[in-house]
Every structure is written in C-alpha cells, then in structure tokens.
C-alpha cells in the first residue's frame, strides 16, 4: 500500500537546497503577512459570524491535512474529535462556568485523550482499513453523544455563554470574538506549519512516502504515526471547542460522519499536503453551504459533484495546482 501520490507535490526538485529553502522562507513570510493582513481586514468587508465559521473549519481542515497530507493517513472519523470537543467546551462554559479560553482548552484536552486511544487502535491497520476503522470509531462517539445525558441528545447543548476572555474581556460583540478566533486560528495554523517543517515533519513525510524504508532507517514509525494522530485530533478539538463558543451551541451535526466527509472534502478541494490548501478549501466549502442554502436539497449533490470532479481531474487541489505553477510548495 503506497501513499506516494497523495500530495506528492511537496518539493520543488532541481534546485540547490539552500536556495530553495531561502526562497521558500521569503515566500512564506510574504504569504503569512498577507494572511494576517487579510484576517485583519476581512471583518470590515464580510459578516464576522460567517468568517468565524470559516476559520473554525479552516483550522479543522488544517488539522486533518496534517494527518492526511503529511502523514498519509486518511481519517474518515475526524468529526469525533471536533464534535466531542465542542460538547465538552460547551458543557464547560455553560455548566461549569469556565471562561471561554479554559472551556476551549478543556475541549482540546478531551480530543487529545480521545485521539490517543483511537489513534492507538487505528494505526494498527493501514490505508483503507485505517479509514474504515476511524469511521467506525467515530460512529461509536456519535452514539455516545446521542445517548449520554450531558450532550442533550437531539437538542444539543444550547445557550452556551460566550463569556469573558480571561474573565475580563466580554466576547458578546461579534467583532471582538472574531479577533480572538482569528488569533486561535493563527496559533493553530503556525503550530502546524512548525510541525511540518520540523525534523519530526521530515520523518513523517518519509513514512508517508515509504514506510518500510523509514522502518529500515531505524525510525519507530508507529510512534510517529500515533504522535501525528494525537496532534491532529487535538487541533481538531481546538477548532471544535472554538466553534462551540462562537455559535453558542454544540450539536450532533458536528459528530456525525457527514462532518468527517465534509472536512475531507475541504482538504481535497484546497489541496492535500499543501500548507494553505485547507484554508482555501474551507472558504469554498463553507461559502458553498452558506450561499447555496436557498437551493436546499442541492447542497449535498453539489458537494458530491465537487468530490467527484476533484478526484477525477483535480487531485492536487487548488493550491496544489498553484504550487506546481510557481514551482514552490505552498
């Protein structure tokens, strides 16, 4: 089972390595500044609640991408970490009365633990089996969320207070909350960027491209895979917890397997194994849901068509294609 062609557009071959590295870091610097400027300007042009939704999903997709694009592991059950964390955060903020940042942390921590347990189980198999196992485990979480008392069953947890950040700054205003969410997103995103470009990330890519060789080089690939799984689950939890505070609710939608499918779609559209792909993908998919809402039943069909088109014609995703044009990993 090889996973080479999943996002193999990572490296620009044929140039001396230090030139590439210097060119890349300059490019990344420019792109990050553009991203930050964009984040600052956006709420003045667009509806902040919509933007916050995009950011939550962008972080979620980036977390999945870390696992899929750089670890070569397709999880079809990431909704479990995203959704369950949003339940825990909502519960923490509403019932325990924690401040929003602590509530989000509680959700993230839960996702990490969950990721550790499920990851340990799932990485026993590879490829398609891995995908099916993560899906089945996520379905287990779905049933737990449906039946346990604290999640409120079908009604979900409603009326979660946005609260005061650090107990001081009230987050009722959409704009204020937006900047907090943007900061969380940026933190998660930079963390992922760091991970990818660390020695750990290098090993990860080596495992993705050729696991037997990585093993023969003396790497304990299982531990690497588990570590990236836990990181990815935790970041998905961070996104889910943030979403609970933004929308002031947590519901079954976020633990359902369709959510797992949606986040894979975002990553696929934007470009697996690209840094900026998940952001682009989530902007597209979330806008699609938002602006096509009046088309009703057509939304899932359009999503399905996008899936098929991407797989058939566009496997590198939007950023993947761009990256090939500029001959730089993006």
């Amino acid at each position: 089972m090889t996973t080479q062609d999943i996002a193999a557009s990572g490296t620009a071959a044929g140039e001396p390595i230090d030139t590439v590295a210097r060119g890349n870091s300059r490019l990344y610097g420019a792109l990050f500044i553009a991203l930050i400027v964009g984040l600052l300007i956006a709420p003045h042009l667009l509806y902040p609640v919509f933007l916050m939704k995009v950011l939550c999903f962008a972080l979620f997709a980036a977390a999945l991408n870390l696992l899929l694009g750089y670890g070569g592991l397709l999880s079809f059950g990431h909704a479990a970490y995203f959704g369950f964390a949003s339940y825990v955060s909502a519960h923490a903020a509403k019932v325990w009365g924690l401040t929003p940042e602590l509530a989000i942390l509680a959700g993230t921590a839960t996702a990490v633990v969950l990721g550790l347990i499920f990851g340990a189980l799932a990485i026993r198999r590879q490829g398609i089996y891995f995908a099916m196992i993560t899906l089945a485990l996520a379905q287990l979480i779905y049933f737990v969320s449906l039946q346990s008392a604290f999640t409120g069953g079908e009604d979900g947890i409603q009326g979660v207070p946005r609260g005061n950040l650090f107990g001081v700054i009230p987050l009722t205003d959409d704009r204020t909350l937006y900047y907090v969410v943007a900061a969380i997103f940026l933190f998660g995103f930079l963390l992922i960027f760091r991970i990818i470009h660390s020695p750990f990330g290098q090993v990860l890519r080596a495992i993705r491209d050729n696991e037997p060789r990585a093993i023969s080089l003396g790497y304990r690939t299982t531990q690497y895979k588990l570590a990236v799984f836990v990181l990815s689950a935790g970041l998905a939890g961070l996104a889910g917890g943030t979403k609970a505070i933004v929308f002031q609710l947590a519901s079954l939608t976020d633990v359902h397997w369709t959510m797992s499918g949606e986040v894979v779609l975002m990553t696929l559209v934007g470009g697996m194994g690209t840094i900026f792909g998940p952001i682009v993908g989530s902007v597209i998919v979330v806008s699609m849901q938002n602006y096509l809402a009046s088309f009703g039943a057509w939304v899932p069909i359009i999503q399905g068509i996008v899936f098929v088109v991407c797989v058939m014609l566009f496997r590198e995703g939007i950023i993947g294609v761009l990256s090939r044009w500029v001959k730089r990993p993006l």
Binding site: T3, G127, I133, A136, L137, F143, W298, C310, M312, R315
Partner: protein, 295 residues
C-alpha cells in the same frame, strides 16, 4: 424450564432467529464489498446508496411498470449492477494507477450525489412497498411468530451467498477472478481480459447491494437515506471479518447479526454500538480481522 438471566428460551430462540435475519443483510452487503475489494482494492462507499437504489428500483418497477416483487428481485439487481458498470467504466477504471484512497473518496462523492438526487425526487418520508402476496402472513413457531417474509429473507440471502461462493471457488470464472486478485498483470499476460473482469466484478458486487435493497424494501421504509447509516455498520463488519476470504465475510455477517440480536434482549441500549465494540476488541487481538491475512 431453564431461564437464562431472566430471559425465557422462547424469547432467546426468537431473538436468535431475528438476529440471523438481520445478519442476512450484513452478509450480502459485506460479501459485495469483499468481492469488489478483492479485485479493485477499493472500498465502495457508495454501497449503501446502491442498496437504497435496489429498493427504489423495485418500487419504481411496481409503480410505473406494474412489475411485481419476484421479477423485481431479478431486474432491480441487474439495473443497479448496470449503473455500477457505468460507474466503473466512467470513473473507477481511470483511478487504477493512483492511491486507492481516491477510490474511497470518489465513491463517497457518488454516494452523496445518488442519495441527494433520490431525496430531491422522492422526498425523505419513504415510500410504501408491500410484502408480496405469496409471502404474507406467517407461522407460529411456538416460541415466536415468524412472518413468512422474514424466513424468505434468510433463505434468499443464504442461497445467494452460497451460490456466489461456489462460483468463485469452483468455476473457471471464479478461478480467473481469484488469480486476478493475486496478480492482475500475470493473468492479463495469459490473455484474459482483466479490465473486463474488473468491470463485471464491480457490477456484480453492486448488484448484490441492489439485491439486498429489494429484499429490504418490504420490511424497511424505502427511503433515500436507508443505506447511509447501514454502510458504516457493514464497514465495521468488514473490519471484524477481515477481507481475506469470501467465506469469512459471509460468516461474519451472519454471526454479527446474531450477536446484535442477543444484545437487543440483554442490553438493548447497546445494540447499536455492540458491533463497534467488537471491532475494537478484534483489532486489539487480531488486527487483520478474524479471517484476514496479515498485511
């Protein structure tokens, strides 16, 4: 009179039998998945949608052409299988040389489209489909009332599974198939049209899903979402059984149906999760699945 944990043997027998009936659906569906996986190496996420299509085609045949249950049992799988062949030719055949995960993603997208189109056309409340007159009513077995139709489901499912197994294990065609599963290039070198074999195999696997759909139509609501959640359970069944053998997928399907049936008596709250729990246990003990070959 012995009682087991407060459950009388009558009830227990009844539940075992009902479990076997549900297991029939798992077995036919996981068999289809296993055959497709064997040759194409992809997990057919659209299997649930194709199961749903089987039920809908049966309903349409009745509604628009006046074709009854028995003919539907033959025609609907053929129709669904034919759509499968089109899908294989149009899409899957072009994905042979890329990572198999793309096959999963593609069929996932197809499932969304198929389910969405049916939802648009027929709504979601479901459509009525009656039990064929010949199988109406039932027999009192002493320990339970067994509707004739349920008995038929077990017989039909078992028959299809056994015939399929015999074809694969005992015929020349099956031998080609098994050989191609092992080494497609080599089989191609012997002058066998492997792409054709692949196409037909996918069509057949999908037709099995359609067959299960027709079987389900009279007892479950004919509804665009009827396969969406079922498919995940079948995935778990497949993980438990391991994809190693055709027989394995059949046996696991029936066995898990029975286990689920027993859970419904002793601890009904867990009956939707029991298969997933078993999956976890199997993964811990035997990562390749009960019948699987180690990867």
């Amino acid at each position: 009179m012995f009682e087991l944990l407060g459950v009388s043997p009558q009830v227990l027998f009844g539940q075992l039998l009902l479990g076997l009936i549900n297991g029939s659906f798992y077995a036919v569906l996981s068999l289809g998945l296993a055959i497709i996986f064997g040759l194409l190496n992809i997990i057919n996420f659209a299997h649930g949608a194709q199961y749903m299509m089987g039920a809908f085609v049966a309903w349409m045949l009745l509604q628009y052409a006046g074709v009854g249950y028995w003919w539907s049992l033959l025609i609907a799988p053929l129709v669904v299988g034919a759509t499968g062949i089109v899908i294989e030719r149009l899409f899957l055949s072009r994905l042979q040389n890329v990572d198999h995960l793309y096959g999963l993603l593609l069929t996932f997208g197809l499932a969304l489209i198929i389910q969405g189109v049916f939802r648009n056309e027929y709504g979601v409340s479901g459509l009525p489909y009656g039990i064929p007159r010949e199988l109406a009513g039932g027999n009192n077995l002493g320990f339970m009332f067994l509707p004739n139709y349920r008995a038929w489901v077990v017989v039909a499912a078992l028959a299809v599974c056994i015939v399929t197994w015999l074809v694969i294990e005992r015929t020349r065609l099956g031998a080609y198939l098994r050989a191609a599963t092992e080494n497609a290039t080599l089989v191609g070198a012997f002058g066998i049209n492997v792409p054709m074999l692949v196409t037909l195999t996918y069509g057949f696997g999908v037709a099995l899903a359609g067959f299960a759909g027709v079987l389900a139509a009279p007892i479950y609501a004919v509804n665009p979402n009827m396969g969406a959640d079922l498919i995940i359970v079948v995935f778990a069944v497949v993980v438990i059984g391991g994809m190693g053998s055709i027989l394995g997928s059949i046996v696991t399907g029936f066995a898990l149906g029975i286990v689920e049936g027993l859970t419904k008596v002793f601890y009904p709250e867990a009956s939707s999760t029991v298969i997933f729990v078993i999956m976890i246990l199997v993964l811990l003990v035997k990562p390749a699945g009960l019948f699987g070959r180690a990867a």
